[in-house]
């Protein structure tokens, strides 16, 4: 599933970002600040994401990790700072803009479409690319059906990739938690994103499920070249699969580097890993 370049380019054009030759990273956030009713969630946070890497964001609860993702894909609008995507600058994203520009995400607390089957959930991830008009759909004449079939084939590819063939027709509500997480990932992958934001993809999973999920994330990154930004609490997972790590604490960036560097970083250990150890 190579990301559909022209779709994302077109998206960028539509979103009307300003070009910037200086910016090389695929995605870069520059001193983003965000606050809710006086509560500071993010304070001048900056980091970049390079094409094809797995970038982890870690930090204790309430460090502003989820808020960061929400800023990146436009659910929140930061008060200050910009988001640079493919060298174009945005003061804020709009969720569906972000989607059009190839940013997909999964949610910490499941946000599947409970009333729909696994297949439909994943097909919904294709909606972005489905263009036939109402009338054509209503009559289900040629183009509409052809389009439906083409995207069905793609969705089936995702289902096959995630090894959930046996549950194709089940309503997502009836699936065990671990599988629902997989479907959530599947819906995101169905968008053929160039950047995939994962909000605690392995939260609440048992060891086996975690291993599966990591496998899927890595091979998504590997086979489709999807760039991945993930929030994760399980340090084992983070250290295993991420190329570079950003550490947030109370809305500030307190560390940034390879897993090794992070593991040895004094400040990080005090602020976070220490906490984690206590917790563990």
């Amino acid at each position: 599933m190579p990301p559909d370049a022209n779709a994302t380019e077109a998206g960028a054009a539509r979103a009307g970002g300003r070009a910037d030759p200086r910016c090389h990273a695929l995605l870069e956030v520059r001193d983003i600040s965000l606050s809710f009713g006086g509560v500071r969630a993010l304070e001048a946070v900056s980091f970049d994401v390079i094409e094809h890497e797995v970038r982890a964001i870690i930090g204790p609860n309430g460090a502003g990790k989820s808020s960061m993702l929400n800023v990146i894909n436009g659910l929140y609008e930061p008060q200050r700072g910009q988001i640079w995507l493919r060298g174009r600058c945005f003061d804020r994203m709009r969720p569906h803009e972000a989607a059009r520009m190839g940013i997909a995400r999964t949610f910490q607390s499941l946000a599947l479409f409970g009333g729909m089957s696994v297949l439909d959930n994943i097909m919904a991830g294709r909606n972005l690319r489905m263009r036939t008009g109402l009338l054509a759909q209503a009559l289900r004449i040629g183009p509409a059906e052809r389009e439906e079939i083409a995207h069905r084939r793609f969705a089936e590819g995702v289902i096959d990739f995630l090894e959930i063939q046996a549950h194709r027709r089940t309503a997502v509500g009836q699936l065990p938690y671990g599988l629902q997480k997989r479907v959530d990932l599947g819906r995101a992958l169905a968008m053929e994103p160039s950047i995939l934001l994962l909000d605690e993809p392995t939260a609440g999973m048992n060891l086996e499920e975690k291993q599966d999920m990591c496998r899927f994330i890595l091979s998504a990154n590997d086979e489709f070249g999807t760039t991945i930004v993930l929030i994760e609490h399980d340090m084992g997972v983070v250290m295993d699969i991420s190329d570079r790590v950003v550490v947030l604490d109370h809305g500030r960036k307190i560390g940034d580097g390879t897993p090794e560097q992070i593991r040895s970083d004094r400040g990080v250990i005090d602020a976070y890993l220490g906490v984690a150890h206590d917790a563990a």
Binding site: L34, S35, F36, G38, N70, Y76, E77, Q79
Partner: protein, 340 residues
């Protein structure tokens, strides 16, 4: 919580609303210069009927505050209470009749809590809302089946003959219905009582807690069931008062149930969670309707060649709708919030 600087609100609806209200008041003022008395009368008349809307709206707000349920059946409850009093008063002294009616409302509250709210706990608000639609139908049917569906009278012994005041300033003075004055008084008293109830009593505080956060309230061991029962009883009481006032003014009849339909825009305007909002909203709607009826309708007729009149049927809603676009949370309501 959404960030402070959420997408800039389109300001035009606000301006439009301001313009509309301005026109609504200014145009009459022009005429008012000629006959200020008449203008004031209309204004007062509006305020008075507004008070009655407020009475119904109060019940709505109570229930919404404590259970997040918009009770579409409030109007039916008003009708039921009034009917009960009217029919009972035929066979027993008024106070007893009122007591009986009150008992009935409490019984109703109990049934609703048992048969509707409890089974529907944790359902989406819209589902419960539709359920209250069901309750509305049920009560209407039941009330009229058991208590009859003619027009009945309740006589609270309110002074019927109007008073003429302020002759000193206006020739011919201004006509005021004493009845309405009393009604306004009652409304004021009721609001005061409720305010006290909420602020002072333990139950009241519990209610506020529930209103703020149901889960939390449950966690600290506030029995939701009991709370709802109480709230619906109180709402029933408010409905009774409203029913009596309206009943004595217009006679007890089916049309009372329609009042609820007016109460909806009222609370939207005032804010679903605010008692004062209910009052203010009621007054605005009341006045607005009267104004529209008196000044807008003729304008429409002359302007568009539309048979004016009946404007009050939709005015409240269109006003509320316009208002929604500017301030969905209403004048006094808290904004409801989404978290990702």
């Amino acid at each position: 919580m959404p960030p402070d600087s959420e997408p800039l609100r389109a300001r035009w609806p606000l301006i439009a609303l301001a313009a509309l209200l301005g026109a609504g008041l200014a145009a009459p003022l022009a005429t008012g210069a000629a006959a200020p008395g008449f203008y004031l009368e209309v204004l007062l008349g509006g305020l008075m009927s507004g008070v009655l809307y407020s009475l119904v709206a109060l019940g709505l707000v109570l229930i919404y505050k404590s259970s997040g349920v918009y009770n579409f059946a409030q109007g039916a409850m008003v009708l039921l209470a009034a009917l009960a009093t009217a029919r009972l008063s035929e066979v027993m002294p008024l106070p007893a009749a009122i007591g009986g009616a009150l008992l009935m409302m409490v019984g109703l509250a109990w049934l609703v809590e048992r048969l509707v709210l409890r089974p529907l706990v944790n359902q989406s608000p819209i589902v419960v809302f539709m359920a209250t639609l069901g309750i509305l139908y049920f009560i209407e049917g039941f009330g009229q089946l058991v208590l009859g569906n003619d027009i009945y009278k309740v006589d609270l012994g309110l002074p019927k003959e109007p008073a003429i005041v302020a002759q000193r300033w206006f020739d011919g003075g201004i006509l005021i219905s004493r009845e309405d004055l009393v009604a306004a008084g009652i409304a004021a008293a009721l609001v005061l009582a409720l305010a006290l109830f909420f602020q002072r009593t333990a139950t009241g505080r519990a209610l506020r807690a529930v209103a703020d956060d149901q889960q939390a309230a449950q966690a600290i061991g506030i029995p939701l069931g009991r709370i709802w029962f109480i709230v619906w009883s109180v709402a029933g009481f408010v409905a009774l008062v409203a029913g009596l006032v309206w009943g004595s003014k217009l006679g007890v009849q089916f049309s009372l149930a329609e009042v609820a339909l007016k109460a909806l825009p009222v609370v939207i305007l005032g804010g679903l969670t605010s008692v004062p909002g209910a009052i203010v909203g009621g007054l605005i709607i009341g006045v607005g309707e009267k104004m529209a009826e008196v000044f807008l309708a003729p304008a429409l007729t002359s302007g568009l060649g539309v048979a004016g009149g009946g404007v009050e049927n939709w005015f409240a809603y269109v006003l509320a709708l316009l208002f929604l676009l500017v301030r969905p949370e209403g004048l006094f309501g808290e904004r409801n919030i989404e978290r990702v």
